[in-house]
């Protein structure tokens, strides 16, 4: 397994990026050179220097320290959205696939409603109704995300539900829920979990997009999307203020994607 991993430089790269992100998030206060929220406006928009290695933003905060602390926010969102939407989607998908019929119809039409519902309208309504905060962005993302897992799991369940070992369990008169959760789910969850590892990156990207339009993280929180947004107009002159948060998002999403792809190549038995 390890040899397969190192055989692909991209996977190694992805793994390293994610590793660095996790370390950064864990030890953010130790790594950051300044307070992420301390305002020093007289020192605004300073280019990178020894004191501020990524420069300062429009109210004079240290961009490097903000990015370091922002790691925590981004990872937290990615983790929570996936961890919350994954079980919901998976269980519903398994039930729909296994029982079929009216249950299937009901669950799948419900997912269709959520899938075809424009995400931006949902997110904006939630933010407007419940107040803007990173938690509500999280909620909106969970609502948008779970149906994807339902779809994936349902199709994998359909593929194996008539397999021999399931038939034999059924013949033995096992409780259907027992069969579903003990036999079917463990054997059909792989594609969805690989998707989940990729989704870490996409969730972070989506949350950054929402913060960018002002719905998510509230000032002075060092969220990358918000940082990118607040410095975009002066990208030409103060390139550092927008470039570093942009790169942070880029590398994070890239890292999770490469790692997820690598894991799929390794774990998916069909692709050996």
């Amino acid at each position: 397994m390890f040899r397969r991993l190192v055989s692909s430089p991209l996977t190694v790269f992805g793994f390293l990026v994610v590793f660095i992100l996790v370390i950064t998030a864990l030890f953010a206060p130790l790594i950051a050179t300044h307070s992420p929220t301390e305002v020093n406006i007289v020192n605004k928009l300073q280019p990178p220097s020894q004191e501020h290695i990524f420069g300062t933003d429009e109210v004079g905060r240290d961009i490097f320290s903000r990015i370091v602390h922002g790691t925590r926010i981004s990872l937290k969102i990615g983790f929570l959205v996936v961890i919350l939407s994954f079980p919901v989607g998976t269980i519903l998908g398994a039930i729909a696939g296994y029982f079929g019929g009216i249950v299937d119809q009901f669950i799948m039409r419900t997912t269709d409603i959520f899938l075809s519902f424009p995400g931006i309208i949902l997110a904006m309504s939630i933010a407007a109704a419940l107040g803007p905060s990173i938690e509500n962005v999280l909620l909106a993302l969970v609502i948008v995300w779970w149906p994807w897992y339902t779809r994936i799991v349902r199709s994998s369940v359909l593929a194996i539900k008539n397999a021999e070992f399931i038939e034999s369990a059924r013949a033995l008169g096992a409780n259907p829920f027992r069969i579903l959760f003990k036999e079917i789910l463990p054997n059909s969850i792989a594609p969805a979990s690989i998707q989940a590892s990729l989704d870490f990156g996409f969730v972070i990207l989506a949350a950054a997009g929402l913060s960018f339009i002002g719905l998510g993280a509230q000032p002075p929180s060092p969220e990358w999307g918000a940082m990118l947004s607040s410095s975009r107009e002066i990208l030409r002159e103060a390139w550092w203020a927008a470039t570093f948060p942009g790169l942070a998002i880029l590398f994070t999403v890239l890292g999770f994607n490469l790692l997820g792809d690598g894991l799929r190549d390794i774990l998916d038995p069909k692709q050996r």
């Binding site: 605004k44 429009e58 109210v59 107040g131 000032p219 002075p220 107009e233």
Partner: protein, 547 residues
């Protein structure tokens, strides 16, 4: 290595070169020679090489980041629509250039009776609507009656002072308007967008809603421009009115482009594709960066905009005057003015701006004094500090930076500020229903009279929806406001307004951060562009010329 997918590469290359060719071809052509419409014009004397798309001398390009909803002058309260309707319609009087006093427009002159209730307007005889029919007294009556009947934004101003019986048509070009009660600022209100005069033949298209749907994308005005075309969400085009009584504007075409993203708009200005951008869409930081580079020039003009925030006096502990005074002492005003507004503003002690009638220059301004602030908090029994929410509307750079500055300032006296960004409707609902603590806003009067500012900010009947967002109530102020509104004696009004400002400075229902100056970024070739201190949304396209 096998020659894999050769054909695909070829297809791809062909496609790419086609795309790029189209692009290069087109844009090189356009950037080296002026666009076709310009060919009839005299050749450019100073063909500037680095200026792409040399300016067309009779076409003006402007951009706004907020969409234009509709063009009924009585039906909309959207500022972006005002900018258009100011050009499509004339008013009895108007604000010209940089003055904040009205000057004649459709009315050549007027008389006001002794008691201040009867206004007689003498209309100019050469003014014509865009369909060629003359502007008459009947049109004036029709317009004001429609404004009130339609019951929307314009009615808010006029319905208190005139009704359907207020008009007396003396002859085709003379009309008397009788007010229900004396209202000093009446003539000033006539110069606002709500006083636009409409062609009475609109009645043919009234439908069920007094022609509101009809006027949504049409106009029936007499102004210097006519509406040429409007691609919603993209571009609105104005064409010069060749028969305008005030002379045909030099800019034959005005393109108002909808450019939602300020970072894109600034690039278009620097590239010369836009001629003018105002500070309704770009921040002081960007304006400063563009100054003097790439043929962009910055204009600064005095302004009547005041940036402030109300402190909701129905919320604890903001109901305590000492707490409010402490907050006033804890803000480092100068740092905000110097570094967020980049010096384009000055301290102000009240809501009546410097330069306006009734301004009290002796009003108390709170200095930045943390010890004093802490002392006041202690006196109020709040030395342990407390938490308040600061609501801000929209995703506006300047607002957000101010909020962050205030947050950091107030933290120094133990007051924790949570910033919340709301969409405009939610924000409006929050602050007008009194569920807020602080709300960061800016205010520009529609006409230069202290009644306008003070009535909204301080009269107890204006609480909440009336825009008294501090929910401030003071008997003496109510009395003074009512007195001054009835009075036609300027000295008496002046004294009343000055006293109100002094009382408010002591009570501190609002924190006034600064009186901002107005800024705009324009191409060097733009001339005769005037900025009115009060009327950010009045851009006199008809006066502009290009070098």
């Amino acid at each position: 290595m096998p020659k894999q997918s050769k054909w695909l590469k070829i297809v791809f290359l062909i496609f790419m070169s086609f795309v790029l060719l189209v692009g290069c071809n087109k844009y090189n052509e356009e950037t080296t020679t002026p666009p076709k419409e310009n060919e009839q014009e005299q050749p450019d004397d100073d063909a500037v090489v680095e200026d792409p798309g040399a300016p067309q001398k009779d076409v003006f390009n402007f951009a706004t980041n907020q969409d234009i909803p509709h063009l009924d002058p009585h039906g909309t309260s959207a500022n972006t629509s005002f900018r258009v309707t100011y050009m499509l319609y004339d008013r009895l009087v108007t604000y010209d250039g940089t003055t904040t006093e009205v000057v004649p427009q459709l009315a050549e002159n007027w008389e006001i009776s002794e008691d201040g209730t009867t206004y007689t307007f003498f209309l100019r005889k050469d003014a014509k609507f865009h369909d060629g029919s003359p502007v008459t007294s009947a049109a004036v009556e029709y317009s004001f009656r429609r404004a009130i009947d339609i019951g929307k934004s314009a009615a808010g101003i006029f319905s208190k002072v005139i009704d359907e019986n207020s008009f007396e048509i003396v002859d085709d070009h003379t009309i008397k308007i009788k007010l229900l009660k004396p209202f000093g600022p009446f003539i000033k209100a006539l110069g606002t967008v709500f006083g636009n005069i409409l062609n009475p033949n609109l009645a043919d298209n009234h439908g069920e809603d007094l022609g509101e749907s009809y006027l949504a994308d049409k106009e029936v005005g007499s102004g210097p421009y006519v509406l040429e075309s409007w691609d919603r969400g993209q571009k609105l085009v104005l064409k010069a009115n060749e028969n305008y009584w005030g002379g045909t504007p030099t800019m034959k075409t005005v393109n108002i482009n909808i450019v939602p993203e300020p970072s894109t708009a600034r690039l278009m200005l620097e590239k010369g594709e836009l001629d003018l951008l105002d500070d309704t869409m770009i921040s002081p930081d960007v304006i400063k960066q563009m100054d003097g580079k790439n043929g962009v020039e910055i204009v600064n003009a005095p302004g009547f905009q005041i940036d402030y925030f109300p402190m909701n006096m129905t919320q604890k502990p903001l109901d305590n005057k000492l707490v409010r005074q402490a907050i006033a002492h804890a803000i480092n005003y100068d740092v905000i003015i110097d570094n967020v507004f980049l010096g384009n503003g000055e301290r102000i002690g009240g809501i009546v701006p410097k330069g306006m009638f009734g301004y009290n220059d002796g009003v108390k301004e709170y200095d930045y004094n943390l010890d004093k602030a802490k002392e006041l908090l202690k006196e109020a029994g709040q030395e342990g500090g407390f938490t308040v929410e600061m609501a801000i509307s929209e995703n506006n750079e300047v607002r957000r930076n101010i909020a962050v500055m205030l947050q950091s300032d107030l933290a120094k006296i133990g007051v924790t500020v949570d910033i919340k960004t709301y969409a405009w409707p939610t924000f409006l609902d929050l602050v007008t229903s009194g569920k807020h603590d602080f709300g960061l806003v800016a205010w520009t009067p529609d006409y230069a009279d202290p009644d306008y500012n003070l009535w909204y900010f301080a009269h107890s009947s204006s609480k909440g929806p009336g825009f008294n967002l501090a929910f401030y109530e003071n008997k003496r102020i109510d009395e003074l406001l009512e007195l001054a509104r009835k009075s036609v004696d300027d000295a008496q009004r002046d004294a009343a307004y000055k006293e109100i400002q002094a009382i408010m400075a002591e009570d501190v229902p609002y924190i006034f951060l600064a009186q901002r100056s107005v800024q705009a970024a324009k191409r060097e070739w733009v001339e005769r562009h005037e900025i009115n201190p009060m009327n950010t949304w009045y851009v006199p396209f008809h006066k502009i010329t290009k070098k």
